[in-house]
């Protein structure tokens, strides 16, 4: 009896302890290891940081050559002072990991298609599907090729290895207690870093910025609309396209033999040769109007007589933030700016001599080739009139708590077959192989290694020569007065009549692989107008000798160029206002037209809203009501105009906002406007009226009689969300104005992810802010501390110290790393 009592008690104790020590699956819901999590000494409670974090004064670490001094400023920006460049990058790895380890690890796992190894119990089949697609996209193999390219170059190899060693030095020090809380919640541990992981992170960025190719959607559009309409809606250069990056009239310093019909004619390459629509793509990142701004003005345009450079890349508004601010200083370097956790160097920043910034090139850099199989085994495909053997990549995905999944990915001379079997829409007859400029071996990291210490325009060009994908518009300003912009990246030489849409494939002739020489990429130095700028618009006008496509911006670019043309004597304050400019060019063009197409009777009962729209100054400021009324109307207008796409099972590509405006303005009687499933024939004016009625009904139910709910920021509901979409670690209802296609491109989930202004007055003076905080730990006061100031358009002066003494004299916390 006594034994039984003891036995029972001990069994209950053991069972309960084991249960609480492990994650469980109850009713298909993931339950984290509760006992470990609630332990106040080691669990979640240990991730709580004091409001004023105290850094350990001195840390001994193997792998350093000398001493490194870190000065943490009042926003927890680390200012790294090292005696050698190698130590500097080692320390960058260490400090970045100490603030952002989980995020870095997660993003590289996502890039590699290795999330199932840790997240399958939590997220289930959807994470496996994601991994399968990443592998088929060739992310892992292209990162491996990229890492090999990095390691071939001694300088890059040194930097990548030092950075990696620094991260690993941090990982080795970690006990369970210090693990970032996401590891505790999801119940796994970080794995060792390697240069491959840095390559993966850069590929992840490449994917985020270039997987929005519209090829399948455009091809489908040509099945949906007749050719005349499709040509109009999906043209390369819509009528009236203005303000390319390189000012019109800039002469090209090279000539290439060119087919005169090539550029003017926007005929897409191929219309699907099989029945049905091309399958729906998994494009986790695409959103119209997403992009970035950058510009620089010469001294002739600035108050100080020195250049000013501005940059604000628009990315998903996530926590932990995509950017991490840092200053890096060694005998060769002194650079400040935004870095990407997981990659060495500063990506958008400045040093004593130059400043640079990036926007996305937006050209379509992925091609899809039709593959004709001999039979269902897919072991042979048509090539140059004969049958060629297919190679198969055996790809193993490890899954936590399950047997690994092996996929056989067919690889052809045209590329990997991304979509097939269960990943593809049913009823489609042929597979597509994908080719992407991210597969061309390049050493993008070297661009930043060199740019971080560049001193003049020549250095900038040399640095850019290493950059392949994702093609970026690199803006440049130099203390000596020079400004420049170059669209740099690998772009292929497309013959006339190809590219936009699906490539025919099947022969060596059809395969496009020749890269445009980098010296012939669009570039301008010190243009007469006194400024350079880019906002994801066309890089050139139609005189550029090469063919390119993409869904380009038509609004931010015009507003930016207007402001930079109209103004002179610009200073930092002007640039702050300009980066936060909320002028809605779309509305300024659409609204007068739409209002002229409806009658007062259409507004019956809502005359007050008509009044609000009529007196609107077209600024999407946070508290205004007019932007919500307009946006609601425009959304319904587009949806009703393009009802052709309703029910299409396949990849969709709606025409751009600008092309749609041209249609409404110039061809209001186009049959595109007609709603298919009605007996009547609708024209553009009718669509304006019908969509207004729908918008008013929506707005009625939203406002419930009070316009307060229609204030723009409430209607838009900007949120900055934790990468895992954990609601308690996200921020909602941010009070910010702007929208897509507005300079302040802050929409619901996307926005200016790093605003930077660099002026070369009195040396260098810089300001910046991003919607997040330096710490990736939700338990830190520095996790989301900058969001409010960011939403309010405020900035921080960036503390760019000349040397360690200056850093020590400032309000900073000192930390010493030694070996």
């Amino acid at each position: 009896m006594k034994f039984f009592k003891f036995f029972l008690s001990a069994v209950i104790l053991t069972a309960l302890t084991v249960l609480l020590n492990n994650s469980l699956k109850i009713n298909n819901t993931f339950v984290p290891p509760l006992g470990r999590l609630v332990d106040p000494v080691n669990g979640f409670w240990a991730n709580m940081e004091p409001a004023q974090p105290q850094f350990q004064k001195a840390l001994k670490m193997d792998g350093l050559e000398g001493e490194v001094h870190i000065y943490w400023d009042d926003r927890l920006v680390p200012h790294v002072f090292a005696q050698s460049t190698r130590d500097m990058f080692f320390a960058q790895g260490f400090v970045t990991a100490s603030m952002r380890l989980w995020q870095m690890d997660f993003q590289t796992r996502a890039a590699a298609g290795r999330l199932s190894e840790v997240l399958y119990p939590t997220l289930g089949e959807k994470v496996l599907k994601f991994d399968r697609l990443q592998r088929r996209n060739g992310m892992l193999s292209s990162a491996k090729a990229s890492a090999a390219e990095m390691m071939k170059d001694p300088l890059t190899a040194m930097v990548a290895q030092a950075y990696s060693d620094g991260i690993n030095a941090y990982i080795e020090r970690l006990s369970y207690r210090n693990l970032p809380l996401e590891y505790k919640l999801l119940n796994y541990r970080p794995e060792k870093w390697s240069p491959l992981k840095s390559a993966l992170l850069l590929k992840y960025m490449a994917q985020m910025l270039t997987d929005n190719d519209s090829d399948l959607g455009i091809a489908n559009a040509y099945k949906l609309f007749d050719k005349e309409d499709a040509d109009l809606l999906y043209t390369r250069f819509p009528k009236g396209t203005t303000d390319p990056i390189i000012p019109s009239g800039t002469p090209w310093n090279f000539t290439v033999p060119r087919d005169s019909a090539a550029v003017a004619d926007s005929l897409p390459a191929a219309v699907p040769s099989v029945a049905g629509f091309y399958p729906e793509m998994e494009n986790p990142f695409y959103f119209e109007g997403i992009g970035s701004n950058n510009w620089a003005v010469t001294g002739a345009k600035s108050r100080s007589g020195k250049p000013i450079l501005c940059n604000d890349p628009h990315l998903a508004l996530n926590l932990p933030s995509i950017w991490f601010e840092i200053q890096l200083c060694s005998p060769e370097y002194n650079v400040y700016g935004a870095s990407l956790p997981g990659s060495p160097c500063v990506i958008s920043g400045f040093n004593n001599n130059i400043a640079w910034g990036v926007t996305n090139g937006t050209r379509d850099v992925r091609d899809w080739y039709e593959v004709e199989w001999k039979d269902a085994s897919k072991s042979e495909y048509k090539w140059n009139g004969a049958w060629e053997k297919t190679e198969f990549e055996q790809d193993t995905i490890h899954i936590k708590g399950k047997d690994p999944l092996v996929q056989r990915i067919p690889v052809t001379r045209m590329g990997r077959v991304v979509y097939e079997d269960s990943l593809m829409t049913e009823g489609f007859g042929r597979d597509l192989a994908m080719n992407w400029t991210a597969f061309i071996p390049a050493n993008e990291l070297k661009t930043f290694i060199l740019m971080n210490k560049a001193a003049n325009h020549a250095d900038y060009i040399t640095a850019l020569d290493n950059f392949g994908c994702p093609a970026q518009n690199f803006v440049f300003a130099c203390a000596n007065g020079d400004i420049a912009i170059k669209q740099q990246g690998a772009h292929l030489k497309y013959p006339a009549g190809t590219h936009w849409g699906i490539m025919k494939g099947g022969s060596s002739e059809s395969l496009i692989s020749e890269v445009i020489p980098y010296s012939q990429n669009p570039h301008v130095l010190n243009p007469a107008r006194g400024f350079v700028s880019s906002a994801n618009q066309h890089p050139t006008d139609s005189t550029y000798p090469y063919i390119y496509d993409g869904m380009f911006e038509h609004y931010r670019n015009r507003r930016i160029n207007y402001l930079l043309t109209q103004n002179s004597g610009m200073d930092v304050e002007f640039m702050k206002t300009m980066q936060n400019d909320n002028y809605n060019t779309i509305a300024s063009e659409y609204l007068p037209l739409m209002l002229s197409y409806v009658t007062p009777a259409d507004w019956s009962g809502h005359e007050n809203w008509l009044g609000i729209l009529k007196s609107w100054n077209y600024f999407n400021d946070a508290g205004q009501v007019a932007p919500a009324i307009f946006e609601s109307w425009l959304r319904h207008f587009k949806a009703m105009t393009y009802d052709e796409w309703d029910g299409v099972k396949g990849e969709k590509q709606l025409p751009g906002t600008y092309s749609t405006w041209l249609l409404l303005k110039d061809k209001p009687f186009s049959k595109v406007f007609d709603i298919k499933n009605t007996a009547t024939v609708e024209d553009g004016k009718a669509i304006c009226r019908l969509s207004l009625a729908r918008a008013l009904a929506d707005l009625d139910s939203l406002s419930k009689g009070s316009d307060e709910a229609l204030q723009w920021y409430k209607f838009k509901n900007t949120s900055v969300q934790h990468i895992l979409q954990l609601k308690p670690f996200s921020r909602f209802g941010i009070k910010a104005g702007g929208n897509y296609s507005i300079i302040n491109a802050c929409s619901d989930r996307w926005g200016p992810s790093w605003r930077m202004i660099v002026s070369f007055e009195n040396g260098v003076k810089a300001f910046g802010i991003y919607p997040g905080g330096q710490s990736g730990n939700p338990g830190s006061a520095y996790y989301a501390n900058m969001i409010e100031d960011w939403a309010g358009g405020r900035y921080y002066e960036l503390k760019f110290f000349k040397n360690a003494d200056e850093a020590a004299a400032a309000e900073t916390q000192h930390q010493k790393y030694f070996h």
Binding site: F6, A10, T17, V38, D39, W45, P728
Partner: protein, 116 residues
């Protein structure tokens, strides 16, 4: 009574110290050992372990909370699908610790009884 107090205090102190070196489950062992040797009465042993670990965890959590922010604890509460209030996470913490501590003390006492 004195024996109860000594056991409880010793358990709390030793468990707290060992938790910095070992995983959380050490709290399932410390009360067991002390009760097996010092406090072999099952009722008292359960109460001793319950109080020792419960109070030690409550104190540690309160100390952590005084340095950080209650909003974060409320967020933690929400993450494990409790109502978004710091007090919920605190209560669950104390309850888990106390329960394991109590069961551990009880088992220790029952082992001692079995052998006597």
């Amino acid at each position: 009574m004195k024996r109860f107090l000594i056991t409880t205090i010793l358990t709390a102190l030793v468990a707290f110290g060992l938790e910095w070196l070992l995983p959380w489950w050490i709290i399932a062992i410390v009360p067991f050992v002390f009760c097996a040797f010092i406090l072999p009465k099952p009722g008292q042993a359960f109460l001793s372990g319950f109080l020792a670990i419960g109070l030690m965890w409550a104190g540690t959590a309160a100390w952590r909370m005084s340095e950080g922010s209650p909003e974060f604890v409320a967020a933690l509460s929400e993450v494990i699908t409790l109502p978004p209030q710091a007090s919920w996470f605190f209560l669950v913490t104390v309850f888990v610790g106390a329960l394991i501590g109590g069961l551990s003390g009880l088992s220790g006492a029952l082992l001692a009884r079995m052998r006597s």
